[in-house]
Subunit: 474 residues, 2 copies
């Protein structure tokens, strides 16, 4: 053990104690961030997003970082570097995002989404309720607060840290790849840390080693040049909702497989040993679907539920709208109808090929006197990480020590497109660690983050930073 | 010819001249009515609906009617009777509705929908633009203004008139049948006149002798107990939009026929002579679909376009909504999705049987861990009237004289459910005459009524009232 490592290990108890003592102040800082309505999907909140970026840059600058809000082609990013670096210590690039999902349907929130509170859930757990409480403001603040604790107790961090926060993760990070290219020099590091994933369950910490990719398309069908009266035109004029539902209703076959030609090209089955390991994890309809009021796995017939939600590609219609949707009835044939359709992709699927196949599937089904338009919202391939990577092994040990239970390596059904960008643009591998729980309602009304996730999340990063300072750089 | 009839015929030119001279004042009164936002489908406008009823009752009372606003289980109706009746003259019951359709999508209106104006259309026709300009405020005011002209010139109407106006036609007239039953005595008449239909074309007046029925259902599919993140749950949890689009996408088969078992039971083909007559009317894709930007008849294969839109039953999805429909993207699996679905029915179809068959069709396709709810918005059978009815023949002659072109008897694809109620409850036949044109954009943005329709509509009713005074009572 080097002197520095010995010193870090010696100081660890004091830093952890400082986290415990300062939890209320940490929560105050989190709440200030949660009050900012940084919804990236809706242009009406662009100023709020910029305010969130400014706010975070100021918080991080107070820790001794040179923190800058930098423009992208969309919402700004934050790059924060430590002026004094130790050449011997590893250099980590921490990534998080300050933008949040829209809040609709607003009427289903039990409290205003941007007025955070701590309440007891029905099982007696203390939870922080607000949009972004978990995804990703709560999670990114676990890292920032861990840095703060090291800094306040020891005057320095155990290793070199660059913090990189973006504001367009929830809308596909489309401007982030070019931003990485443009700021490559300032983002040099040994590897990336991302805090935007979950625990396996309430007791078991986890590191995520695979992520599904994402293709997100919007389809708009246009028929007549104006809305029509269904009594006068019904039966004679094309109805764009009829066209759209017929196309979308045909995206899955009777076995729950996606019916787009070529969709499964290149998709491999899980290796038998992984499948055997996953089938032991206890992800059943009873544990996974019952809490959300469902009972029957909806995916491909003949696949385990855990395959359906993490290793198999899927298609979901995330939104649809057309015609009269208000109270009561209106006998209208609308001029247009549209839907948002997304695909979770796995290893072997090329998002651009899937996009082309999807657009073909739709286009050939649109009558020749109608029109179809597509909007590209996101396209990112799936990611698989090396389970043997040294920093990952070190972080796993630190997590295990904090939670008193062996940390597991898991695959996630979700997508974090920038992980591919880090590899492609910066040449860096990523270690994904987070403290979310399945019932956190992210992207839904009443999003929450367990107070324990926040508190022990900060403590976990305190330990991980010390562990990574000692681990080989890659 | 009786003395009265002779007197009516002698006074006709003066009454018509009075209509011409008073057109500006008639328009002022129409505009005052059009400014009232009497949207029946949205409870937020209930006060406006009641204001429209009060306003019209006052207008009609000023003509010497005993006009009362009477409550129904929903929005109020108006019953207006003439105190002095001639036992010799026929007694007509005029029906119209003061409620209008919702105005969305508001952004497609070139002018505020409740701020009526007269402008030139691209072809140089003067048009009255406003929600309700035609359906039905403009149309019902042609009758009221015709009564006014007779009253102002001769001090009386040529025959006995009761005026009955309702406020829930656009939402299915559900409370109107019971209202008719309850006020049967006050509504005694020889037959009904309805002004809520159209001309055959700009030159050719028409009387509508058949109407399609209407069944209007709302379907709501409920899956998980909350909105879900499609990355975490995608592939494993049911998506209600997927269920809904799959069901709705299966409502029509590849030949455009409706796939609900039993849907066509009892539906007869048109008699060959009617089919031959209709095929001469020149309703082609070029004349009917091209003006609305379409080219290919969307209905059942092997049927004439005029059959598709007037004698065949149809199904349209009038609205659909679920998930995220705002700007940008959101990777959500919503908890529920819903659609409004309507059927135009023809002779031989029982709305209640079709409703049951539709609900079965949907219910068996909903996974057992999801729920479906239905809302009944309307159910009315189709109507076919006697082409030989004496008042109809007399009215046809009067229309022919006003327009200088033989009036035609036509079938309408639209539904006016109360016509069945008049027969069932009051035992009365109905003569349907109106001055709408196919391009009036009723139920759509930029609804209009040709100034010529309004002006010659009033003149037509002036003539029809005189003609009916001389015609046998049934």
């Amino acid at each position: 053990m080097s002197d520095v490592a010995t010193s870090n290990a010696r100081q660890l108890p004091a830093v952890l104690a400082h986290v415990d003592a300062g939890l209320d102040a940490s929560l105050d800082r989190l709440f200030a961030l949660l009050r900012i309505r940084s919804i990236s999907a809706d242009g009406a909140f662009a100023d709020d997003c910029r305010r969130a970026a400014r706010h975070l840059a100021d918080e991080i600058a107070a820790l001794g970082f040179a923190a800058e809000v930098r423009p992208t082609a969309g919402l700004p990013a934050i790059v924060a570097t430590l002026p004094d670096r130790s050449a011997a210590a590893p250099h980590v690039l921490f990534y998080g995002h300050y933008d949040v999902q829209p809040v609709d349907p607003l009427e289903l929130w039990r409290r205003p989404p941007f007025d955070p509170v701590i309440v007891d859930d029905p099982a007696g757990h203390k939870i922080i309720v607000a949009r972004g409480a978990q995804d990703d403001k709560g999670q990114l603040m676990t890292f920032v607060e861990a840095c703060r604790a090291w800094k306040e107790v020891t005057g320095a961090l155990p290793l070199n840290v660059t913090i990189l926060l973006e504001g367009e993760e929830e809308i596909g990070s489309k401007n982030f790849g070019p931003f990485l290219s443009a700021h490559k020099k300032d983002l040099a590091a040994d590897y990336v840390l991302v805090c935007d994933t979950g625990m396996w369950d309430r007791q078991t910490p986890a590191i995520t080693t695979s992520l599904r990719g994402l293709l997100y398309e919007e389809v708009r069908i246009k028929a007549a040049n104006r809305d029509l009266h269904s009594g006068i035109y019904g039966g004679g004029a094309q109805n764009p909702i009829r066209i759209l539902t017929r196309i979308l209703g045909g995206l899955h076959d009777d076995d729950g497989r996606i019916a787009i030609p070529g969709f499964y090209d290149g998709v491999a089955d899980l290796p038998p040993e992984i499948l055997a390991q996953w089938s032991q994890l206890g992800l059943t309809p009873e544990t996974f679907l019952k809490p959300i009021g469902l009972a029957i796995p909806a995916g491909e017939k003949g696949r385990l539920l855990i395959e359906q939600v993490s290793s198999r590609p899927t298609c979901d219609i995330n939104g649809i709208v057309g015609g009269y949707t208000g109270e009561g009835s209106k006998t209208v044939i609308p001029a247009e109808a549209s839907a948002k359709v997304s695909f979770r992709l796995v290893q072997g699927q090329d998002p651009e090929r899937i996009r082309a196949a999807f657009r073909d599937f739709v286009s050939v089904r649109v009558p020749s006197d109608c029109k179809v338009e597509f909007i590209d919202h996101a396209a990112a391939p799936a990611i698989a990480l090396d389970w043997q990577m040294k920093p990952l092994v070190a972080a796993k040990q630190a997590l295990t020590e904090e939670w008193g239970k062996e940390a597991v390596l898991i695959g996630s059904g979700a997508s974090i497109p920038i992980v591919a960008d880090f590899k492609r643009t910066l040449g860096l591998d990523t270690v994904l660690i987070g403290f979310g729980l399945d019932d956190d309602n992210i992207h839904s009304p009443n999003e929450k983050y367990d107070l324990r996730s926040f508190h022990k999340g900060i403590r976990s990063w305190v330990r991980i930073l010390a562990a990574l300072a000692e681990a080989p750089k890659g």
